[in-house]
Amino acid sequence: MSVLDDDTLRAMLADRADRLSPNTAGEVMVHVRAEVRGPRQGAVFSVLPVLTGRSPAIGAGWAAAAMIAVLVMVMVATRPPVAAPSLAVTTPSVAIGSAAATPLPSGIPKRTAVELAGAHVQGPSINPLSELVGATAGAYRDLATSGALDGGVPVDPTRLVWAVTFTGFERQTIYVDFFTGAYLGMQHDLSPSDPAQSFPVAAPQISPNDLLRVVNDGSYDGRLVLVNSTLRGIPSPVCNPAPCPPGFALDFVGRVVTTPNSSQPVVPAAPEAGSVPLTGTFVVVPWKGTLILVGRMEGSLASPVAWTTITSGYVPPDPGAEIAVQAVSGWLTRNVALPCASVASGGSGCGLVDQLTDGPLGSGGLATTPRVDAPALGVDATATGVAGPFLVRTGTGAGLEIVGRYDVGAYTTVDTPTVTCDIPADSKLPSCDKLVVYALQPLPDGAEMTAIEVHQGDWPCPSDSVCASAPPEQRAWVLVRSTSGDWEVGLTFDAGGYGVDIVQIPLPSGNPAPSPMPATCTELGYGQSSTLTCGAAIAAALKVVPAGTAIVSLEFGYGPGCPTGIDCPDLPPYPNTGHVIVRVAAPGRDLLVSLIADAGGVATAVAPVPIASASPLSVP
């Protein structure tokens, strides 16, 4: 390979740079943008076009003068207001009802839409608990169903910014005019036509103990919770009238019910000895003191599939087969009049049915007739049309069953402790599950377990205890790691497998004081300012890192920062955003936590994204 010469490289770069299209004489594109401060800040806003016109020809051989135009400025109270002159605005027309809801091609970047709408999210007219999850510019297809905003406000789709917020299951869509920054209005209970238009936000994570708390206090009622755990069938509780339906329990969470009307409360529990353990991610919904099991999750909530994907491969399962839940996109139209002629041609019936289609009814495409659970979570029973994505359940023998609408970003995850079992197959000891149950009995209440290891054999039990005289094959020991410290529990059994002794010993490292972790902080340069500080960022990041993570070091930097190939949350712009890379002991398990600070410097972190160790970051 010969050395690349400078002239060739320079010529290629010049050729690449000069590939700009020539600007038409007299035609100047004006990108007008406004930035506002929300009412909470009490500032005023106005619009100022700063620069229009042509730049002189750039470089030899450049075919046409580069144009540019730009600016619309931040007019805050500290800067003198300037009357806005009339503007000749050239923007593409995007019709309301467009299937693509395309962001304006020459218009404002998506993240600026987030900024613009975000200012209003903080306003007094919006629920202060709302969490902004996405915003974009352009037509919004749901407006096709109403033609205008609430109150009949006509909307020019070419100047529309819309943002989606969530508060539990309530969704608000906020509309802002990006030319003037004016707040146009808000609609409830609508969803974007394409889930991909929303920015998926990594779900917050809570502990099993927190889940039990929110179930009992009702603060999560109606919200989706994904629990990574093991489901077991458990003996029926004694009830009247008998017989009771079989019970189910999730390890480290407790009893779950399958119908909202059940009166069985969730009971905090270690794994219960039960039948047919099933491991996976389970969708549950806290509801009036109970935990409703919706089903086992298939696929990813972050990537809803088209409903045609599951229907094409759908085979009605045998009775008793596993109940599966999947997120699917589509539109649900209620009470569609099905012509009776379709009965004669082999249709399933006539009358009023619910239909799931891949677009609004009448826009073409295929339709299917699902069963809609009543009440389906998040689906307004009075609404004619509801945009997805939905949670669809299969495996109940009732075909496709819509059990609720799924809002991207509006769910919570729970990780239960990992259990590793090192008991020989021919051991006479009780099963691993039972050993865990025994071992956890003497532990203090409130201990948040993170990992459990079960072993058979020698264990340095106290010399005066029963276990010291038992042969190794009758002894087991369980290492329990928890947020309250680490413990070893020695279990001794007789020759018949009956337990005869339990010894619980806190490890010397138990309940350790948190040691300071090495942290590196980058600084903003060139006089940039940010409300986000390194300390606040690291503190916020540590809150979302799973408990028990063996952190080696922390690295904070400004800007979104995202390794190549990782689908990171799309955050508003530099400089009030940042990221923390959490380097962990296990190779290949590093985490990236994205953060954003509000005007007061309060940092909010989204759940970590796994990255490969020493991933090169694209850090601004």
Binding site: M1, D15, R16, A17, H31, L48, I68, V82, P109, P620
Partner: protein
């Protein structure tokens, strides 16, 4: 560089800012175009960089550093923009570069054209940081000291990074079958 004008713009005078950035818009667009390879992305990057500059100008301490500061904002914006398009990048075959009827052509011209396209494909393969260094040095003609100022790294670091970028490009070019 007109420090007085920077001061005026810092105090919120939009006409001063306009006068300040007007002569820089073209070169900025050209730089962004060379890094990003897409006109729409380049124009967005410039627009965004200018807005960021206006927004953050009040915090600029040293008016003399305006150029480097503005370039740094642009470069950072290009990096973010490129990350966003990474997942949808396709390999384009420019038809206008093919030897066609009516064009004076010969073996040498065709070979040079193919070589140029191979080099550009190789350029697309290297990281955005490496692209940026090569553009700043070979297209914009910035010295190592200026690049170091833009990137806010020591001059020695800028030099080693530029060398590494050049090596990466040569490797990528070899994979493209050129040189």
């Amino acid at each position: 560089m007109d420090p007085d004008r920077v001061e005026q713009a810092r105090s919120g005078d939009p006409s001063a800012f306009e006068a300040l950035v007007e002569p820089r818009v073209g070169p900025m667009t050209r730089t962004a175009m060379a890094i990003l390879g897409s006109e729409a992305d380049a124009r967005d990057a410039v627009q965004d960089a200018l807005i960021t500059a206006w927004r953050e100008l009040a915090a600029l301490r040293d008016p003399e550093a305006f150029d480097a500061w503005l370039t740094r904002i642009l470069v950072n914006r290009c990096k973010r923009g490129l990350r966003g398009v990474a997942s949808r990048r396709v390999r384009e075959v420019p038809v206008d570069g093919l030897v066609g009827a009516g064009e004076p052509s010969g073996p040498d011209t065709a070979a040079a054209s193919l070589e140029r396209r191979a080099l550009e494909r190789a350029f697309e393969r290297i990281s955005v940081d490496e692209r940026t260094l090569l553009v700043l040095h070979h297209l914009d003609g910035r010295s190592l000291a200026e690049i170091a100022s833009v990137l806010k790294v020591p001059e020695g670091t800028a030099k080693s990074r530029l060398f590494a970028a050049r090596k990466s490009l040569e490797k990528a070019l070899a994979r493209e079958g050129g040189r």
